[in-house]
C-alpha cells in the first residue's frame, strides 16, 4: 500500500526528480561535506569572537605593545628581525595547504599512492608549524618572561629620559609611543632561605652580587638588546628601589625615567607593565589555533592510514573523506591569515 502511493507520487510529479523524497542531495554535496561546511562556519564565528575581543581590548588602552617589537626574534639570529619568523611560519602553513589540495586532487583521480604522498607532506608541514609555534612560545615565556597575566612588553605614553646608575639623566631618551621590554633580573641565589621575602633592599646582596645573578642580567640584556647598554653591567641582586630602576619581588626591572612631555613633565616614573590582557589574549588565541593545527595533524594521520588500508576505495566516492579533512585544513590556514593580520601585522 505504502509503496503504491510512493510510486504514484513519482509518476504524478513527472519533472520533479525526487527532491522531497531524499533521492537527491541538497546543494549537490554529501551530508558529511555539507555538515563540515557548517561546522567550519560556526568555528569561524568562535575565532571571530576571540579576535574581536582582542581588537576591543587593544582599542581600550593607550599602551598596547607594537607587534613588530614584540615578535622580533629569530632562531640563531636573535632579536631585531621583526616579523621574519612569523612570516616563515605563514609560509610553512601555506605550503601544507598546497600539498593538501594536491592530495584532494589525487583523491579525485583515485590515485591512492599520490594521496598518501601529498598527505604525508601535509602532516610534515603541520608538525613543522607546531614546532615553530613551540619555539615562539618558549622564547616569549622563557627569555622574555611573558605570562598569561604579566606582559613585560609595554609602550610609552609620553616622551622621557632614562636615569643612569647614579640617578641622573642618561643620554638615552625615548619618544612617545616607543615600545619597551621589561627585563628580568635573576636573584634566585640571593634570596633568603625559608622563602621569607619582602620589599626590603638586601644591602649585603647588593654589594656583593653573586656571579650567577650578574651573569643572568647580562644574558637577558644581550638577548633582547633594547637599550640594555645603559645598564652598564649593573646587576640587581635583590628586589628594591635603585637609583635607576625599581626591581619588583619577581625580579622585573622597571627602569626609571624623567618624563619630558605632557602634563607630568619633570616627574620621575618607572616603566609599568604592559596591558594585562596581552598575554592572555596571545596565548589563548594562538593556542586555540595551534590546537586546531594539532587536531588537524591527528585527523590527517588517521585518514592517511585509512587511505593506505584502501577503505575509501570501497566507498567509491572519490575519497570524499580526504576532501573533508582538506576543507578543515584549509580552514586552519584561513584562520591563520586573520590571526597573522590581527596579531602581527596591524
Amino acid at each position: 500500500m505504502a509503496t503504491d502511493t510512493l510510486d504514484k507520487k513519482h509518476t504524478d510529479t513527472g519533472t520533479d526528480n525526487g527532491s522531497w523524497e531524499g533521492a537527491e542531495y541538497p546543494f549537490k554535496v554529501g551530508y558529511g561535506k555539507l555538515m563540515i561546511w557548517y561546522f567550519l562556519l560556526s568555528d569561524a564565528f568562535t575565532f571571530a569572537g576571540f579576535l574581536i575581543a582582542y581588537g576591543t581590548l587593544r582599542f581600550s588602552t593607550v599602551s598596547w605593545p607594537v607587534p613588530d617589537f614584540v615578535f622580533s626574534t629569530f632562531p640563531f639570529l636573535g632579536p631585531h628581525h621583526p616579523l621574519l619568523f612569523v612570516t616563515f611560519m605563514t609560509f610553512v602553513l601555506l605550503f601544507s595547504s598546497f600539498t593538501m589540495i594536491r592530495a584532494v586532487q589525487e583523491g579525485h583521480r583515485e590515485n591512492r599512492k599520490g594521496v598518501v604522498i601529498w598527505m604525508a607532506l601535509t602532516i610534515v608541514g603541520g608538525a613543522g608549524f607546531l614546532g615553530c609555534q613551540a619555539w615562539e612560545w618558549t622564547t616569549l615565556i622563557g627569555e622574555e618572561h611573558m605570562s598569561v597575566t604579566t606582559s613585560p612588553f609595554g609602550r610609552h605614553t609620553e616622551a622621557g629620559i632614562y636615569l643612569d646608575a647614579t640617578g641622573k639623566e642618561s643620554s638615552e631618551t625615548f619618544e612617545m609611543g616607543t615600545s619597551y621590554l621589561i627585563h628580568k633580573a635573576s636573584f634566585e641565589s640571593a634570596k633568603p632561605a625559608g622563602g621569607h621575602e619582602s620589599g626590603e633592599v638586601n644591602e649585603g646582596g647588593h654589594e656583593t652580587p653573586t656571579g650567577e645573578a650578574s651573569h643572568a642580567a647580562e644574558g637577558t640584556a644581550e638577548s633582547h638588546g633594547n637599550g640594555a647598554e645603559a645598564h652598564g653591567g649593573h646587576s640587581y641582586a635583590a628586589p628594591g628601589d635603585y637609583p635607576d630602576a625599581v626591581v619588583d619581588e619577581r625580579g622585573y626591572i622597571h627602569r626609571k625615567y624623567l618624563v619630558a612631555s605632557g602634563t607630568d613633565s619633570g616627574v620621575i616614573k618607572s616603566e609599568p607593565f604592559g596591558p594585562k590582557a596581552f598575554g592572555a589574549l596571545f596565548f589563548f588565541i594562538t593556542g586555540f589555533h595551534g590546537f586546531h593545527v594539532f587536531s588537524g595533524v591527528i585527523f590527517l594521520t588517521i585518514i592517511m592510514i585509512n587511505v593506505i588500508s584502501g577503505i575509501y576505495v570501497k566507498r567509491k566516492n572519490k575519497n570524499e573523506m580526504v576532501e573533508k579533512i582538506g576543507l578543515y585544513w584549509h580552514f586552519v590556514d584561513l584562520v591563520w591569515v586573520f590571526v597573522f593580520l590581527v596579531f602581527y601585522l596591524l
Partner: protein
C-alpha cells in the same frame, strides 16, 4: 568536477603563488611603513592598514573559493556559508567603537582626578 585534473593542478599552483606574493607584500608594507627598511621613512597608518586588511581579505577569498572549492559548489551552499559571515561586519564596528569609548572614559576619569587634586591644594 567542473574542470579536469591538469587544469586543477595549474590553478592550485597559481593560487599558492598568489597567496605567497600577497603575504610578502603585506609584510613588506608593515616593515617599510614603520621605518624598518628605509630609516626614518614612515607611511600613514590608515594606508598601511587598508593595504594589509585588503590583502588578507583577498587571501581569504582565494583560500575559500579556490582551495576549499567554494567556487564550484552549488550557489545555495555558497550563500548559506558566506552570507552569515556578513553579521561580523557590524560586530567589528560596534565592538571596536566600544573599546575606544572605554579608553576615552578612562582618560576622562584620570583627567578629573588630576583636576580635583590641584583644586584641593
Amino acid at each position: 568536477m567542473s574542470h579536469d585534473y591538469s587544469v586543477a593542478k595549474k590553478i592550485a599552483l597559481k593560487t599558492i603563488l598568489i597567496l605567497a606574493v600577497v603575504t610578502v607584500i603585506e609584510v613588506m608594507v608593515a616593515l617599510t611603513g614603520k621605518g624598518y627598511i628605509i630609516q626614518g621613512h614612515h607611511w600613514p597608518k590608515a594606508l598601511m592598514n587598508a593595504i594589509m586588511i585588503g590583502g588578507s581579505l583577498y587571501k581569504a577569498y582565494l583560500i575559500v573559493f579556490e582551495f576549499m572549492h567554494m567556487k564550484y559548489e552549488a550557489r545555495g551552499l555558497m550563500m548559506s556559508v558566506v552570507l552569515p559571515i556578513g553579521l561580523l561586519i557590524w560586530a567589528i564596528i560596534s565592538f571596536l567603537y566600544e573599546g575606544n569609548a572605554w579608553k576615552n572614559n578612562r582618560l576622562f576619569v584620570k583627567e578629573r582626578e588630576k583636576m580635583e587634586v590641584t583644586s584641593q591644594q
